[in-house]
Subunit: 225 residues, 4 copies
């Protein structure tokens, strides 16, 4: 099965950092989700850290609203924030409670260094750079989860982590990934024109993407007991 | 009729800049809305500038999501952004179209210096300061419109600007003002404790509020032909 | 006499907003400096506001250090900050004291809306955009003063404002303008390559330049009694 | 020997995170510098990462200039930036060249996740918070190195890392630490008054300090082969 199509910019950035991308999307944690070998304890630790991660992820998408260059860009980023804060956070809290992690414990989670590294990198890129820098740093998370989800759901294996796989491999999340890919491609074209990969700026954006990808792989370490 | 109650911080900040507050909330533009003497051309110019204003206002509230200190603060600010971008902007566009200003003309509006002054002041305070600084700079707009709306709707006068008055004097906007006042008071208490007005920080926040209030009065100039 | 050469980007941006540039650099305030007809009171008011302006200008150049992409860019911006905070501010304070405005009065100056508009626009562009956006918004002030100074010093007229003219028309400031022009051209090339004016990004940068230019003309109003 | 006195805020923040502070200032890397047992290779890796660290550290102090509330605060932060960019960076490059790491290799260093975690945390706190938040996140680095240097120089042991110890234990750096402690105490008093530790805000600042301290200990890992 070939990787899903989330647009041109993403495909180019991903191919420009093939090794880190492989280390991220084929990480032992991911394979442990796929075949069910991931210990429960590791998954719960991941969920705890992911709760704090989602808060900062919503902050980063809010910063994208501030940095947007058009009403369409603002509305796209704002819809993501709204979905995260008024939907997915509740879903996540529910999953954690079902797994025996009460809401109060979630809120009291001490952020691991690996978690701080990723989210603060993205936010700092967003503050210091412009809308494109921020999107390039956000893309590995949004679209990497989509690519992993699409690959794992197609395997259709028996695993206790089926819910996770169906969340990210499911039609809703996949559509969101295609929309995000379109948002990125349009934002690139609206600033850098039809041949962005010929500009020095492109290498800078690809570097943001590659660094965020490296930090995603580091984040998975949190899921290993 | 006494002013509506939008919380303790607002009341203190407003009373600390009584003259600018008066200049803002009793501006000739406001009285012209109330008695109908405001020329149509002035109102349309105000609407055009207000469209660009609302975009930057939504950006400022998005920055409040980034700068929030709790999930409750994030959700409150995010709900405001969502309401602005997915509701009020459409409403505003509709009013303008009905008034003969097509959407394309709105988007092409050149921001007046008075408009730039206000919105960039608020955004810069938000970037340079923390969540409280940003709320103090946002408050005069949100709550000043509420106070004006409440006063004018109670007068029940015959004016072609009845729609504007009912928007801001109506129950929905008034409730939103009370909620914003509560958000501010809680955010202040969660950071500065039970006696914030005894701290140097309070004077700094009051100064943000006063400067934003001065710039609101300057903004009304745009509505005078 | 032809305008001094401060680089290619500046020349293109300036020519793309010829009317606002004319309104700024040939403003009545400037002509009043040149022929001495500017009332003393207006000049003193300008000096008072300019003190607060310089503080925010130093803040904006510090933000340029944060947003720089190389050690050379950081050092160039940092040298400007250092020169402003440890040199020009003292010079400015001295001029004001000689003119009868004590230091305490300077620090207590209430920022005029025209002052807020310009500095907060620049700072907000700097926060929301990247290094290029910030440079494009800073350029009209740095290089416009240089162009005005070069023109006025060549006129060699008798005016009580000779000191001002010699400051900005003098060799030191002119060299700084050429260095800033070089910094801008290199920063553009390092990001947007050899034909930046073919990209949509160029129009966005030119728009920042044009808006800052418009606000410079508005700022001169402060110097008119 | 008692710890040096770098002011009241620092002492309180440090004592509020005694375990992370111990893990940072008594880390195996530090003891290896003290007794000379640290392998050369580890020290060189630390130097390489520290070069990139210093760049981001200078960016963070530049952000402090932007966020300062008075001319005195601006000048203090600006002097630190100037010293870093026009002095210490050259010194650091010199040490690295003497150790066989050419300048080009330094500039090409790939930032380790532990490096990204610390510097991006500080910068993001600086962007999202105010001047105090930024100082609280910067303090563990500036003052922790001072405390370590003061302790190690007093031991007067024979170690190949004597230069490092004399840099941070020497009179110049110790004076800078006392000045920074004074800057922090004044900035706190100018915002939060005479009893800041009674406010919720204090716990938030102490949390920034504690998190940065945890990340300093993580950074030392880079110095271990």
């Amino acid at each position: 099965m070939s990787a899903p199509d989330y647009g041109r910019s993403f495909a180019l950035w991903r191919d420009a950092c093939a090794d880190p991308w492989q280390a991220y999307t084929r990480h032992a944690f991911v394979e442990g989700l796929a075949d069910g070998s991931l210990p429960r304890e590791g998954f719960l630790n991941y969920l705890r850290q992911d709760y704090v991660f989602l808060i900062n992820f919503a902050r980063a998408w809010s910063l994208a609203v501030v940095k947007a260059g058009s009403m369409a860009e603002m509305q796209a980023a704002s819809a993501t924030v709204h979905g995260l804060l008024h939907g997915e956070m509740a879903l996540h809290t529910g999953i954690c409670e079902a797994a025996g992690i009460p809401r109060a414990a979630l809120a009291a989670t001490e952020e691991a260094p690996q978690n701080l590294a990723y989210t603060r990198y993205v936010l700092e890129v967003g503050y210091s750079g412009d809308f494109l820098d921020l999107l390039a740093a956000l893309a590995p998370c949004v679209l990497g989860y989509g690519e992993i989800g699409a690959r794992l759901i197609a395997q259709d294996r028996d695993t206790p982590y089926r819910d996770w796989i169906e969340t990210y491999g499911g039609a809703g999340y996949q559509q969101m990934c295609r929309d995000t890919g379109t948002l990125i491609d349009r934002a690139v074209a609206d600033r850098l024109g039809p041949a962005p990969e010929t500009l020095p700026r492109w290498g800078q954006l690809a570097h943001r993407f590659a660094t965020a990808t490296r930090l995603e792989a580091v984040f998975w370490e949190l899921g290993q007991p």
